[in-house]
Amino acid sequence: MGSAQKAPSVSGDRERVLGSLRRALGRGQEAAADAAARAAVAQRIDEHRRGLIPARSQLDPAQQVALFETMACQQAATVGHVAHRDAVPAAIADYLKEANLPPRLRVAPDPALTGLPWDTQPLLEISTGRAAADDTASLTGAFAGIAETGTLMLRSGAQHPTSLNFLPDVHIVVLRAADVVGPYEEAWDRLRAHEGDGAMPRTVNFVTGPSRTADIEQTIQLGAHGPRRLHIILIDETD
């Protein structure tokens, strides 16, 4: 659809609302003040100046990974470790078996995931692509892990359909220890470096633990609409 669709015309309201804002802010009275305001806005957007960052996340890399794990588990995620990515298929097969889940997995069309040695797990039924309504478990990568609150940063794209993060009952995420950062700000810097300044993927999901609700009598219940379980497999390899 995009630009092909004719947008309803309310351009009258645009000028009305902006005019009202400009009047309230006293624009157009003094050219120097207006120019200063414009400069302040341009500078703020270009600078990406960081605000106050909690000391909690200012750690060396190994401690950051440990904090990430602690915080994620506090929010009811589970975390497993493998020394090398080749061990991921076996770890997933074990996880599904222990959780008494069917040995079926929808894998994100990401070469780093589809290229794993799945043939070592002949009982595991693998398919790739976006999530289908009856998928029980999905596997995706992660753009980063944020130690501050045990949060995953997931970036949408051809290799990572967003529906995999929400539709299946179980979401399994592979995260390299090297991709764990301290605060949110470091994750934004990484994304900007990846996309180019000002550009964004369609969706960036920050995910902290599995889906939950407290809408009935303030009782926390996991698995409201999104995944009932979130399992993170940390690859400890450093290369």
Partner: protein, 474 residues
Amino acid sequence: MSLPGSNFSDDVRVAVADPQLQRAMRHVKEGFIGKRAKAAARLPEFEALRDAARDIKNHTLAHLDLYLEHYEAQVTASGGHVHWCAGPTEARAVILDICRQAGARTVTKGKSMIGEEIDINAHLEAAGITPVETDLGEYIVQMRHERPSHIIAPAVHLTKDLIEADFRAQHRQFPADRSLSQVPELVDEARQVLRQRFLDADVGITGANFLVAETGSSIIVTNEGNGDLTQILPRVHIVVASLEKIVPTFEDAATLLRVLARSATGQEFSTYTTVSTGPKRPDDGDGPAAYHVVLLDNGRSDLLDGPFREILRCIRCGACINHCPVYHAIGGHAYGSVYPGPIGAVLTPALVGIEAAADLPEASTFCGRCEEVCPVRIPLPKLLRHWRERAFERRVTPRAVRAGIGLWAFFARRPALYGFATGLAARLLGAAGRRRGRFARLPLAGGWTRFRDLPAPEGRTFRNQWAARKRHRP
């Protein structure tokens, strides 16, 4: 946004006498307050972050026109559309037009207070389009044909036995003898019912917790994941947001996010914080083909110039509501407006006019807890006082109250007479009430003594004592 024939004092009486409501409201007092306190205590920088959050909002409001223009340009560059709307009528027209062009039959909705403000559900229904609320609390109140009673916990006024009865009446597809008395069973049933609705929807409408100027992105914060299923599965994603949701950069959003969840639910971070920019990209495996932002003013631009600008800092965390003793006593519906609690008592008169909402600024004990917990440090009691002054100036305050204030003002302007009259009253009341120490009934004070005794004065007035003290200790 309407105040549906509301009579505040009548509604308060009903609410206070409703045992089911009073039972449900206990969860607010017991849950939210302790959770927020713990979350704040766990983060040493929390108070400093509140200052930073306030400063970000103040800077943004002082440059609101410029940030919105930048935001709009970025949305357009990423393939989305921004629709500026002066009021609810314009916003509804835009949304209906988009839905019609998409041939929409059902619309899923993430939780949106702006959606409530423009009453979009009723207008979608009138146009033959079925709106489906997907946040569990919103789903429950929609099923009951009610309004949310809290901005982040829409069904907080209900107990689970009431919800069970509603589910049994509405979800006829399940066996009648199923077990449904526990919270997990209720949540699971709603999940099953709504799953198909997500898959069937043609358009998804969400709100926005923040709009980010630097990239033209919208951010929603949820725990259930309903907002995400609402925006990635349908062909069209509509964001409804008010002007003041804008922040300059993701760094600014990070600071605000650090205080939002902690203030709201006491979580370190909500489960899902989702950043959306434009429609799906050509290579994307899923996501909406069209992305629209309905940007609502509805009187906010007028607030920018004047004492109520500070209310535009609000990030809708609900902390002031959670900590308000008046809200605890009466629940959200008695306010008769979309936004309850202290924030509602300040915002509603600004949106609908003080004449239509003169009672709301009175719904405060001025205990100050709302200001103490506000993550962006809005001086809510001060703003409530501003509204009371305006109500008085515009003669919408009830006549008896005006007369009382007038009488008090007459004496207060004459300090000697004031001292004489209050001294005399204190002596007379003190003598009359000496035996019991209190009055169960007193002429002209029936409103007070109907519910509690009035203590009898035990000595001289404060002014007398103050003067005496100054004489002894110069």
